[in-house]
Amino acid sequence: MFHPFLDKIKARPIPYFFTKLFIFLLLVFAIDFGVGQLLSYFYFKQKSGVEYRTTYSINKTKEDILIFGSSRANHHYHPEIFESRLHMSYYNAGRDGTSIIYHYALLKGVLKRYSPKIIILDIVNKEFQKNKDSYEKISPLLPYYNSHPEIRSIVQLRSRYEKYKLFSKIYPFNSAIFKIAMGNAGSSKKGSSDVQGYIPFYKVWDQPITKYISTVTYETDNKKIECYEQFIKDCNKAGVKLFVFVSPYYGISGHVDYSFLIADSIAKKHGIPFFDYSNTELFMSQRSYFADIRHLNDEGAKVYSNIVIDSILKTQ
């Protein structure tokens, strides 16, 4: 179709170049669209794995209790304990390596659909530290950019060019192809590694307690602090009972983390209960409760979950 036209303009290199470039870009966009659609189809078809849990958290949750946070949220709040003691349904939306920016986007997705009765937000040390990595780690939200306008402003925090990058249909699934394949392969299996989003650790930490080095103050990221405060405000507005927790560490820092002080004061300002169990005696003396210095194992999670519920019930 193009050949006679191309032959005609071949003698004029600039129009010839731009015509060919245009055709080439069309080809790229066509393949990008096709492959992007295919990836999208398989992405949302997953029935297990980390991507599936994010999709479930944003699109499908209807449980009474939701847990938000990073890996420590994901491994520390035991579903059986919560369901049996509070008689409410439970889902754990915690995801490894994520920060408050991700949790807030997830919350927006949830509150658009319904208001859970209880939300537990687990925060970690240096939660509000300025760190470029935190913005990179909101990439799991990219597949939801088009279908969830409420999270767009948060996704755009990644970079000022993010919305242009998202013209590509493949880009939201960048680096996810093997995970998508595994998530789909896992869909044929009966069960998955998580129990209502909670992933238990069964190993036991075998090293002595360490004094970890943590700076007393550090540069904080105002956007992260804003996300945290907005998280609280949105929960209050939606009538959700929010509880902010810091779960145990197997280590001694010698001081209260700066982010915990900030989180505590903001929580207090909005009348939200804040519980810091980062340096609790019971856990410091029990290595068998930990899988590593930052994570409780299943046994530790059961003990800690009971403490969390006691704390919640005391506020009633």
Partner: protein
């Protein structure tokens, strides 16, 4: 401004379009202004350092050409001292000071020199060496002093190769700024193709491997030898893809506008010896040291011990050029040792080849030589990447004595890394041994050719790391 950023895409399109739209006599101004903007996008104030060396070397060039006898040498020394002085202050001062303190303390003297709180200007070693190359060539009579200040400034600042080379010679680059390049379809397409391949190497391979390499090397004490060995191999491939990727983008960007920059890498992992490796790796720096240091101190036209000494000094300087750290110096020394050892045992190696019968099986012999060279390179690069000398020795100790299961955070990350390495290996193997054979990227049919390049873009979108950092060699 990073080559792997969206800002650069806009910058490149704008500058290139304006370049072809402008009459030839104004193009140098555009390129100079664009280069200033490009450099100032990092740390604006450091353009003053660049300006200082440009003025010094511009004047020195003219003075050297106009002078005679001893005066010429004096002007050259003045220029070299100024350039090396800038390097010494910004790159080596704190390093020297830091190591001087314990030495002085051992003889009960307090070091009076303060530590400077300064950032190393981006690409300082690159443009300083390029500037020195100019005055040396003028001194040697191989290059006429450039009278046009703007053109000379552009020679030092030409944005594609400003921050990480290739380190150009004035004879190659300066005349090109006076040449009028019209829009040439084939050249533009070839330049863009080279840029795309460079981006692929950087985003799909280098930045992907960097995730694993950084996780392991930054916590070397927590990992076993197997993991550290894999990380050392990954780093060797990472640094190649990172740096040669940058060179490809630089050469490609210049080519689009008509400029021909020198080749900087020539598939070094297919080298059969360390000597060959250094003819294929960072060619612009290797030849710089050869032309201006190695041959100046006699090269190999001296007694054998002196020859070895010359090699040793050159590689030590090469190590020091990379950074003010003992890890780089040891890296240089190891490479020097490899070379000297190979020269000293050349006859013995031939005898071994004959004795084992390897010389009768040339393909196997070649494969073994390539494997050995690659292994030696990986070993030396442990020092290049390790956070300090102690960490490097710990890594080596663990690689030899402490094996265990391979660490990986998730299978996906490892699969992407292996996929990238496999793709690179295939591409380089084809180019090295089957260049004239079937090629998808140079296929006679337009559709096949373009589909291949489109697929390269698709692979970048699927497997590229878009949050990766800057190029490793920027820090030098």
């Amino acid at each position: 401004m990073l080559f792997n950023s969206i800002e650069f895409v806009f910058f490149f399109i704008l500058v290139t379009c304006m370049y072809f739209l402008l009459p030839h006599r104004y193009r140098w101004m555009l390129l100079l202004a664009a280069s200033c903007y490009f450099y100032m996008a990092f740390v604006p104030i450091y353009i003053l350092i660049l300006g200082f060396t440009i003025i010094i070397d511009y004047i020195a060039g003219i003075l050297i050409e106009n002078a005679a006898g001893k005066k010429r040498k004096q002007y050259l020394i003045m220029s070299l001292v100024a350039n090396i002085g800038v390097l010494a202050v910004f790159k080596y001062y704190n390093f020297i000071n830091e190591n001087l303190t314990p030495l002085l303390q051992s003889v009960s003297i307090k070091n009076p020199a303060p530590f400077l709180k300064i950032l190393l200007p981006i690409g300082l070693s690159f443009h300083t060496f390029q500037a020195m190359s100019y005055t040396i060539e003028v001194y040697r009579g191989n290059q006429q002093a450039e009278r046009h200040f703007g053109i000379y400034a552009l020679y030092v600042m030409f944005y594609p190769q400003l921050v990480a080379g290739p380190i150009e010679r004035p004879q190659n680059l300066l005349p090109q700024f006076r040449q009028k390049f019209n829009f040439n379809y084939d050249r533009v397409v070839q330049g863009l193709q080279l840029m795309l391949w460079g981006i692929f190497k950087k985003l799909v391979i280098a930045d992907r491997l960097a995730i694993y390499v950084n996780a392991v090397f930054n916590n070397a004490e927590r990992h076993n030898g197997t993991t550290l060995l894999v990380a050392a191999i990954f780093f060797t491939i990472q640094i190649y893809c990172d740096f040669s990727g940058y060179s490809d983008i630089a050469i490609g960007a210049a080519k689009v506008m008509g400029f021909k920059l020198m080749t900087n890498f020539n598939r070094p992992f297919f080298s059969k010896s360390i000597a060959e490796f250094w003819k294929r790796w960072h060619i612009s720096l290797s030849t710089w040291f050869k032309d201006y240091v190695y041959l100046s101190v006699g090269g190999n036209r001296v007694a054998v011990p002196r020859w070895y000494f010359n090699l040793f000094i050159v590689f030590l300087l090469s190590g020091l050029w990379h950074g003010a750290n003992f890890t780089f110096i040891i890296w240089g020394a190891i490479n020097a040792f490899y070379l000297i050892f190979a020269i000293a045992t050349k006859k013995f190696s031939s005898k071994i080849e004959k004795f084992t019968g390897l010389s009768k099986v040339p393909k196997l012999n070649t494969a073994l030589q390539i494997l050995l060279t690659f292994s030696l390179t990986c070993f030396a690069f442990i020092f290049f990447r390790a956070n300090n000398v102690q960490a490097a020795f710990l890594i080596i100790k663990k690689i030899i004595f402490q094996h265990g299961p391979l660490f990986f955070e998730n299978a996906s990350m490892l699969l992407f890394s292996l996929m990238g390495i496999f793709f690179l290996f295939l591409a380089e193997l084809k180019k090295e041994y089957f260049d004239d054979k079937f090629s998808l990227f140079h296929h006679e049919k337009w559709l096949v050719r373009n589909l291949s390049y489109a697929m390269l873009i698709i692979i970048i979108l699927v497997a590229g790391v878009f949050d990766g950092g800057e190029f490793i060699y920027f820090q030098f």
